[in-house]
């Protein structure tokens, strides 16, 4: 057995000591579900294969989705799971990155005290990576989501912003338009003025009723006042919070005076900071960034974190994780449960230890 595999099993054994049940999801996952969750972009990251009976399958790009599915189907509560095995990622842009590597994970499904569960997962990863002195970055997608929900604007605009939280550039473009910082495109103005006509017959599945509905929605949106400059300033300030945790918290508390909608999320961050401190995490030096994790896979919706090797910007994070309550809702067919988890790459651990 290689060093990496030995290390993977040792980590899994450590996680099992925490009361986690060892699970082994299959390597082949139905592609449909992953495509539904991540959209077409997943094809650029996952290996797709197929057979005549089962249709399109993917070599598992991560364990979280199958573990959540399994738990939602027949898991008892609360539950802790651990696993160790290969994940497969297509690399189209960087031939130096591994396309197949071992991942060990720890997932907690527990509704009693989410802040304590967040801290439990973070502290566990911190413990097993401690000898390497990694740098941890943290964030909280829930704060940004709450800020969007709290904007004084139409539900349609909020839904559009929420949908693109994980695409920062597009999110910014939408905000610029909704706040009037950027004028609407000329063709949109022409459409609203009723100056767009066509003699072409309508082809395809999208009906005239759908087109009319969108035009009506665009008209309603054009009548909607822009998002107020003051709110935009608060949102910009929120997106720029990047501090050690105590300072970040104090900035967020200040911002919540003008953005009362983020209060519950900031309160959760407060509780998490206390729970982390109770587990001997040095929160005074812990980095927090509101925008952290916005370009990763889009199932995290609360606490997010990653552990990085300083001086090795070429390496992906050694460990990463976060809270994904919404994913359990999505896969739970009506059921839901707060859940948080993390994965670690034993191969990177072994490499970094050798380099030390």
């Amino acid at each position: 057995m290689t060093d990496t595999r030995q290390r993977a099993y040792a980590l899994r054994a450590r996680f099992a000591q925490m009361g986690a049940q060892v699970v082994e999801p299959p390597v082949l996952q139905p592609a449909g579900l992953l495509l539904d969750l991540y959209g077409e972009d997943i094809r650029a990251r996952a290996y797709v294969t197929s057979d005549a009976l089962r249709g399109e399958q993917m070599l598992r790009p991560d364990f979280t989705v199958p573990v959540v599915q399994m738990h939602m189907a027949h898991g008892a509560e609360p539950a802790r799971y651990t696993y160790a095995g290969e994940v497969f990622r297509r690399q189209e842009d960087d031939p130096e990155r591994a396309s197949e590597y071992l991942q060990v994970g720890y997932e907690v499904f527990d509704r009693t005290d989410p802040a304590a569960a967040d801290a439990e997962v973070f502290a566990l990863i911190s413990e097993v990576t401690a000898p390497l002195g990694l740098r941890a970055s943290t964030g909280d997608i829930g704060i940004l989501m709450a800020a969007v929900d709290g904007l004084d604007t139409s539900d349609r605009r909020k839904a559009a912003l929420r949908r693109h939280i994980w695409r920062p550039r597009r999110f910014r473009a939408l905000l610029d338009r909704f706040s009037g910082r950027v004028p609407q495109p000329e063709t949109r103005a022409a459409l609203l003025a009723g100056k767009t006509a066509t003699d072409a017959p309508l082809t395809g599945l999208r009906s005239q009723a759908e087109i009319d509905a969108r035009i009506a929605a665009l008209r309603a949106d054009a009548a909607e006042p822009p998002i107020a400059a003051a709110q935009m300033e608060c949102l910009d300030a929120l997106l720029n919070v990047r501090e050690t945790l105590p300072f970040a918290l104090s900035q967020l508390h200040d911002l919540s005076v003008d953005l009362p909608a983020i209060r519950p999320a900031v309160k959760r961050l407060d509780a998490r900071a206390k729970a982390l401190a109770a587990r001997q995490i040095d929160i005074d030096s812990l980095e927090f960034e509101t925008s952290y994790g916005r370009t990763s896979m889009e199932y995290y919706d609360g606490f997010v974190f990653g552990f990085y090797a300083d001086g090795r910007p070429d390496l992906p994070p050694v460990a990463s994780g976060g809270r994904y309550d919404a994913l359990t809702r999505r896969l739970g067919q009506g059921a839901e449960i707060p859940a948080v988890g993390a994965v670690i790459r034993p191969g990177l651990l072994v490499d970094l230890e050798r380099a030390q």
Partner: protein
């Protein structure tokens, strides 16, 4: 021996032959019409390899040919990190074709990728599946849509008659190569104003991976000097 890969048939082959001819190098197909053998006159140490334009990228990347003629679209679609594998030497001024994103002309509410994204979200909510885009250029289209921030779409593979997929209701939009836009118009489709994915033309490429000895290097240098 320097190997030059050239499309084996049609207008692309003829225009390529003309292009080399203008530069004093005569390429000819030899043998019967069905035999893919060729000859090079006007320069020593160069062999002609006739092959399908679609195979040129792969052969360049594998280092089986030193030089090759094919469209930008095929290089970009078929070779990830193409800059590391091939170098463009000359745009040849023919074989112009744009890879574009097109939707039904009846969609008066859609002019930009921005609109397409909004429509994709609504379409998925209404129909229960993602808005389908038919194309054979999967990678180029996916990268383009990711940069444009379009979500909630699905790519469906279409290797031919792509413009017909919308009327046949097997796709809602298409991404395909067009040179004049005639076929798009005939199928009641329009190009999005910001829907140009790639402007392609026939291009002469050099393989960065093909092995060369000193003689090859000299031949290659002399040849390239004459060509560009």
């Amino acid at each position: 021996m320097i190997k030059l890969g050239v499309p084996s048939k049609g207008r692309l082959m003829e225009k390529t032959f003309d292009w080399f001819d203008k530069r004093g190098i005569t390429l000819t197909r030899t043998g019967s019409d069905r035999e893919y053998a060729g000859a090079v006159e006007g320069v020593e140490g160069v062999a002609l390899v006739l092959l399908s334009a679609g195979e040129v990228p792969r052969e360049l990347a594998a280092g089986h040919i030193h030089l090759g003629v094919t469209g930008t679209d095929l290089i970009h679609e078929k070779l990830p990190l193409w800059e590391q594998q091939v170098e463009p030497l000359a745009e040849m001024g023919f074989g112009h074709a744009d890879l574009v994103l097109a939707v039904p002309r009846g969609w008066v509410d859609v002019d930009l990728t921005d609109d397409l994204d909004a429509v994709a979200a609504a379409f998925r909510a209404t129909h229960g599946f993602r808005l389908r885009i038919a194309t054979k250029y999967h990678r180029l289209v996916r990268d383009f849509l990711r940069d444009a921030g379009v979500a909630d779409y699905a790519i469906v593979d279409s290797q031919g008659a792509t413009e017909g997929t919308v009327a046949n209701e097997t796709a809602e939009a298409i991404a395909d190569i067009t040179s004049s836009g005639e076929t798009l118009r005939a199928n009641h489709l329009k190009i999005l104003s910001d829907g140009l994915i790639l402007a392609s033309q026939a291009t002469l490429w050099r393989s960065r991976t093909a092995a060369v000895d000193d003689t090859d290097r000299a031949v290659l240098r002399a040849l390239v000097d004459r060509l560009i």
